[in-house]
């Protein structure tokens, strides 16, 4: 096994072999979810701190379950109701937590670069659970695991990411990770929601939904945040969902084995029509299940061993 990193901060610097290691480990660990006793002793006595500055029940719960199934002690530290409210700096909070000797700190923060800052200052491993619009590596890993599971392979597939790519850390991590694994990535959305220089990331850019998804093996729909109407990115949610929302009718000309994915939570009726979210094309719930497996794998790789 090749995992040598202290931290998991993003997909951009991971080698294909490292990504494969995580996916293989996650695949092996997935069966724990189907056991009657969902526990293995692997991380017994290890302490994992979830340091979530942005509220996120889903991701935090996923990490919590992953840690607990591995017998670790998981502590949740959410910024509301903590010293962060009293204006304690990020570094001071982290140093205080480190003084309590955790083995891994999982951090989500609205500022890009915050996990990198923590990783430089903390001795324990740091997992990026989402930093600003930068990266969300465990999401990309679970997306890759889901695609590999359903399609049997990754290289050569066509994936189209639709929506607010400019503000999405999921999109960035997916782009970095998918390209590393040999997937051809297309991003699609109105020009205001596609970031500057996006093509230089090695992706195709499309401003027409139908054309972008026509030959896709996987369609990844991103969540549209309602704040995007401010700042003039889109005129209205209504127009966005009409033009960019995915409906069964728009899916009709697509490949019959196309997968519909979404990092969640889904804005039903905005980016995904309810019938599509619940259709046979959707693997959204598989993503959630794989999320726990991937996070178990990540925690195992980072927390389990003696670090030099």
């Amino acid at each position: 096994m090749g995992w040598k990193r202290k931290d998991l901060l993003g997909m951009q610097d991971l080698e294909a072999s490292e990504i494969t290691d995580v996916l293989d480990t996650a695949t092996s660990m997935k069966e724990i979810a189907s056991r009657e006793i969902k526990k293995v002793p692997t991380l017994r006595g290890k302490t994992i701190v979830n340091l979530f500055y942005e509220s996120s029940t889903r991701t935090r719960t996923s990490f919590e379950i992953a840690g607990k199934w591995l017998s670790a002690d998981v502590i949740n530290f959410s910024a509301s109701g903590s010293s962060a409210d009293k204006g304690e700096s990020l570094l001071d909070t982290a140093r205080n937590i480190e003084a309590m000797s955790p083995d891994v700190v999982v951090v989500r923060h609205r500022a890009s670069g915050a996990p990198a800052l923590l990783a430089r200052h903390l001795h324990c491993g740091v997992v990026n659970a989402g930093d600003g619009a930068h990266e969300h590596p465990t999401q990309a890993l679970l997306d890759l695991m889901t695609i590999r599971e359903k399609k049997g392979h990754l290289e050569g597939l066509n994936v189209t990411i639709v929506g607010d790519v400019a503000h999405s850390r999921v999109a960035r991590s997916d782009i970095f990770g998918m390209r590393r694994m040999g997937i051809t990535v297309t991003v699609a959305g109105p020009p205001t929601l596609i970031p500057a220089h996006c093509q230089e990331l090695g992706v195709k850019v499309s401003h027409r939904l139908e054309e972008a998804i026509a030959s896709a093996d996987v369609i990844m729909m991103l969540r549209l945040q309602h704040e995007r109407m401010q700042g003039g990115f889109i005129p209205s949610i209504r127009e966005y969902s009409r033009v960019w929302g995915l409906s069964l009718a728009k899916l009709a000309p697509c490949r019959p084995d196309v997968l519909i994915m979404h990092p969640g939570p889904v804005n039903r009726g905005v980016e995904l029509a309810p019938e599509v979210a619940d259709s046979r094309y959707s693997v959204i719930l598989d993503q959630v299940a794989n999320g726990v497996a991937v996070r178990m794998a990540v925690l195992y790789l980072l927390a389990g061993s003696k670090k030099a």
């Binding site: 096994m1 090749g2 995992w3 040598k4 293989d24 480990t25 695949t27 092996s28 660990m29 997935k30 069966e31 056991r35 009657e36 006793i37 526990k39 293995v40 002793p41 692997t42 591995l70 794998a297 195992y300 790789l301 389990g304 061993s305 003696k306 670090k307 030099a308």
Partner: protein, 180 residues
């Protein structure tokens, strides 16, 4: 660390005979009334379990269930390692509760692998009885673990290693002792 082969302990025929005898012993102890299942410990234990199951099919007419167990998550030495060992998947496609489970491994040494395997089995269900079949018992137990079915007893020194080579993995069937 380079190893050199010191001696061959079992050749292809000897290995096959050992497995045949183990199969007979399992059948005899089961007495026709028990519902025996074989669970091989990854990786070579699984191959041996498959072969024993095939032999039992030849004797009794029906092949017992065979499962594969990965014990990495239950190891007691993870803390001591610099890198995490590879986790492989556990595939046991039958219920364990109330059954007689025979764990199968290639070499029994300190007993820690078997301890981990028993913990893993317990988390998967509650077997009625757990028995242990090993192709080679090389001594040097560190835990109170003893096998029920033994292919060959092989006293060794700590500096030696015992390698079980199997057709399916290594292209040939033999058991050898190696030394540094």
């Amino acid at each position: 660390m380079s190893t050199r082969e010191k001696a061959q302990v079992l050749d292809e025929t000897g290995l096959d005979r050992a497995l045949t005898r183990i199969a007979h012993e399992i059948v005899e102890q089961a007495g026709g009334g028990e519902d025996v299942a074989l669970v091989g410990i990854k990786t070579r234990g699984v191959t041996l379990a498959e072969r024993i199951a095939a032999k039992i099919a030849g004797i009794e007419g029906t092949k017992p269930s065979v499962g594969a167990l990965d014990i990495t998550l239950y190891r007691d030495d993870l803390r001591l390692k610099a890198e995490q060992p590879v986790v492989r998947s556990t595939e046991i496609g039958f219920p364990i509760k109330g059954r007689t489970v025979v764990l199968v491994d290639d070499v029994l040494f300190t007993g820690r692998t078997i301890r981990a395997a028993m913990d893993a089995l317990m988390d998967l269900g509650r077997p009625r009885i757990i028995r242990l079949a090993v192709l080679v018992d090389r001594g040097h137990r560190e835990l109170p673990i003893r096998p029920d079915y033994i292919g060959k007893n092989l006293p060794t020194s700590r500096r030696e290693t015992v390698a079980v080579l199997l057709r399916e993995h290594d292209g040939m069937d033999r058991v050898v002792i190696r030394e540094e």
